[in-house]
Symmetry: C3
């Protein structure tokens, strides 16, 4: 599998490009781009890890956090540019609940079948809960106020921008807090860092080059994927919401999924939690607000109003994840519960 | 009292039967059946306990969980058969909030007046909270999706069946988890098992016979009770909802009520929590979904949509119980708080 | 500053009186009364502390709890008398969220910049969370029931009175529990009591006299302030809601604000939590219900129905505060998060 990675990456990338520019069958376009995105996301993940190896743990964590969601951010920017705000919000929703329920659930289940209990830093668990709650609040408050009080569109946009700004301030504060001022309080044991003691695959310069290359490739494939999603979803009768929240989100997070599960099976549940919860926090507190500011560059501006069912889904995912993770340990049954809640949400979205 | 138990059981049972089949005054029918239900529920409880004595703790726990809610399940099946879905949902709601607030509240208050602090397994407290939250999610998600997105009746029923299936899977997983794979992690000290060291009242064969007999009697009395409830509630101007959620629920849970309070006063709060929370979990995650499948056997099919006030009441009961029990200890004041929330809900339902 | 306190108190009080009775410019009336309220609140705080010094810790705590919110209660009674129920509810909402988010947030941030972690009694943290949740439930339940079930105005008032009665019972129970039966369980170390070892500024008789005097002054200034708020808020285009929930609430809680921040900077975060959370609990569970009963003395009666956005704001403040404080410790970042949520709510209320 490892030997075939780069050939397959190359083949699927070229095939996707040809399918897109030669206007081949849309279903084929979608499928080949969806497969390709898994490979480029994996490539991006490896490049990020390799750079993190040279840059040290602290900066590495920051890079991981910043590049890890690059695929989502780039996909979303293309959607924002085309004014497909509902699709953007659906895919953000899908990423958040996918990370919290699917990635964390599968990790806890896989790890829990091997180890009776898996423990991680209890302070981090508490802080994660609070931050996830902040993300819910930032979506819930504008929705309630705009609906109950019939705010004008201009006021809604201003409110959205201010809340987006607050979220970015909160996220930057979190980076300072968790990586500088209270780093040691929130750390697991050393062995949770998967890179520890491993030698790097690539040189420093090569790593940086691959990071840039992977990001560019992700950008291209994402655009092709988005182009075919709409036609594809119509063909199969899936709602835009279901495609955005589940199909696109699962594909876009493929790299995180496999990494987190593998870490959990090595009894490094703390690292798996950091990937799953950390990634969903970044989407809620950084990617989503940045997209609102990015939309100011284009003709139509995106506000922060998510639909009732999206907010409900995120709130449910956050509450159940908090309840499961609050005690700083996970078991197979808790993983199963998270997956079951994911199934419930998936089915509900499917029927919309 | 103990001596009079079986004579009174017999007398009220016969009287209920005569009153029902001879079409006596409806108020009298209701009262005598309501009294009788307390005795047959008590009889069922004793038979269950006695069987559990022979079958061992693990299987005993399972039997207790399965037969403990027999009265509710049987009452509910008759109501489902008659298409009285609103009454069914009201009585399920009433059972859940009655167990969480009234039974647990009265136990914590009674126990807390005798003992300053009563501790129970903190892992169990956390898991209970998560599972109760799952029950709320399973009611909340379909309600939100159906209301916001105007799902068709067919889609609503399919969604209901899938969610009901998920809940049963979650409940079966919980039995495996709490009774097999993680039994020791969730256990209290040995002395919380009330049967420990006691000799059985009845022989093994007698116990099984009484279990079957009691279940049959519960079935009959429940049907008679349900028959008179509607007329009775009209007469006194009580809403169907109030009767279902409070009067029927209190009567139907009489056996659990007295058992839990007596255990708490013996400083066995862990067992009281297991009865109160365990029973409400079984209703939310097993009885309710089973009823949805049972309704497929009849002409009209029941969906999983509870009314806004029912979901609100369950959510409130779950949140306050979680908050009170999360630290694995109870005091008199926490019991009083649960009872006060029960009063608030009771009054609110009364005015509907 | 200390030397100037009483002269400034006198000057602003006289100036406020003259401005009010001579019908000077309304903006000037508002500003001078707003400044004066800060001084009289401070005076009331000092008098209360001094009485507490003589009365002992237990009774002192009770007096502090009872007189600490005197300003809010008195302002509110005048508003109730004039039938300005929306303004009353807005200012109660503002006091609750202001204490939980602004006072506690600023304390945790200020204390956290000086001390890495600040710990307080973890049992108290849990109990506070439960009680705050009770306050939310008491507002949420009637709102949901009245809206979904279209209760009549009479039923709504009866429901309001019963719930108000329940809340007062809960609050009195809390005083007995936290000050008598479980006092020691909920206490911090001795040094958290700010009066310990300090000599009193005033004699016993003088302290009582000043307490009465300060309360009377608060009553007068509050009435003048309320008189000018309406005109003032129209002039600047602020909504009544924003003025009630933010401007009046910040002014009315000035004394608590400064005391709590100073205590936190002396590493007495437990005392700061007690002021912030204790004060908001008293408003939710005692001041608000008392006002409902007080309104029976006047022509128009106030019910317990808060608006959707007020309940949403209180629920959000309670959830985030619970999540932050549940572990019995605070850091600078947690303080910052609380302040950011306060900003989000403030901005949202501003746009209404």
């Amino acid at each position: 599998m490892k030997k075939l990675f780069f050939p397959l990456l190359g083949v699927t990338f070229v095939l996707s490009a040809v399918a897109h520019y030669a206007h081949w069958n849309t279903t084929f376009q979608f499928i080949v781009a969806a497969i390709c995105v898994v490979f480029v996301a994996g490539f991006l993940g490896q490049a990020t890890e390799s750079v993190a190896h040279y840059a040290g743990q602290r900066l590495g964590g920051f890079l991981n956090a910043t590049f890890g969601n690059a695929a989502e951010l780039i996909i979303a920017i293309f959607l924002v540019k085309e004014g497909l705000f509902d699709m953007v919000k659906a895919s953000l929703t899908g990423s958040i609940i996918g990370n919290l329920l699917l990635v964390l659930g599968a990790s806890a289940l896989a790890g829990g079948l091997k180890f009776k209990e898996q423990k991680f830093n209890i302070h981090l668990a508490g802080q994660n809960s609070t931050l996830m709650l902040l993300g819910v609040v930032a979506l819930f408050i504008p929705a309630v106020f705009v609906k109950s009080e019939h705010l004008s569109e201009d006021d809604t946009l201003t409110l959205s921008l201010i809340i987006a700004g607050v979220m970015i301030v909160a996220y930057v504060g979190w980076l300072i807090y968790s990586m500088i001022t209270h780093k040691s309080m929130l750390e697991d044991h050393v062995e949770t860092n998967p890179d520890h003691g491993e030698t790097a695959k690539w040189s420093r310069g090569m790593s940086i080059f691959f990071l840039v290359l992977a990001t560019v490739m992700v950008a291209f494939v994402s655009e092709w994927l988005v182009g075919s999603v709409e036609v594809f979803s119509e063909k199969f009768g899936f709602s835009e919401l279901f495609v955005g929240a589940f199909i696109v989100a699962i594909i876009g997070n493929a790299a995180e999924h496999s990494a987190a599960i593998m870490l959990a099976m090595k009894n490094k549940i703390g690292a798996a939690v950091e990937i799953a919860v950390g990634s969903s926090l970044q989407i809620a507190l950084f990617v989503a607000p940045v997209l609102i500011f990015v939309s100011l560059l284009f003709e139509r501006h995106m506000n922060i109003l998510f639909s009732t069912i999206e907010i409900a889904a995120i709130a449910v995912a956050v509450l159940i994840t908090s309840s499961v993770s609050r005690d700083g340990q996970t078991t197979w049954y808790e993983g199963k519960l998270l997956l079951l809640v994911y199934v419930v949400l998936g089915v509900a979205f499917f029927f919309v």
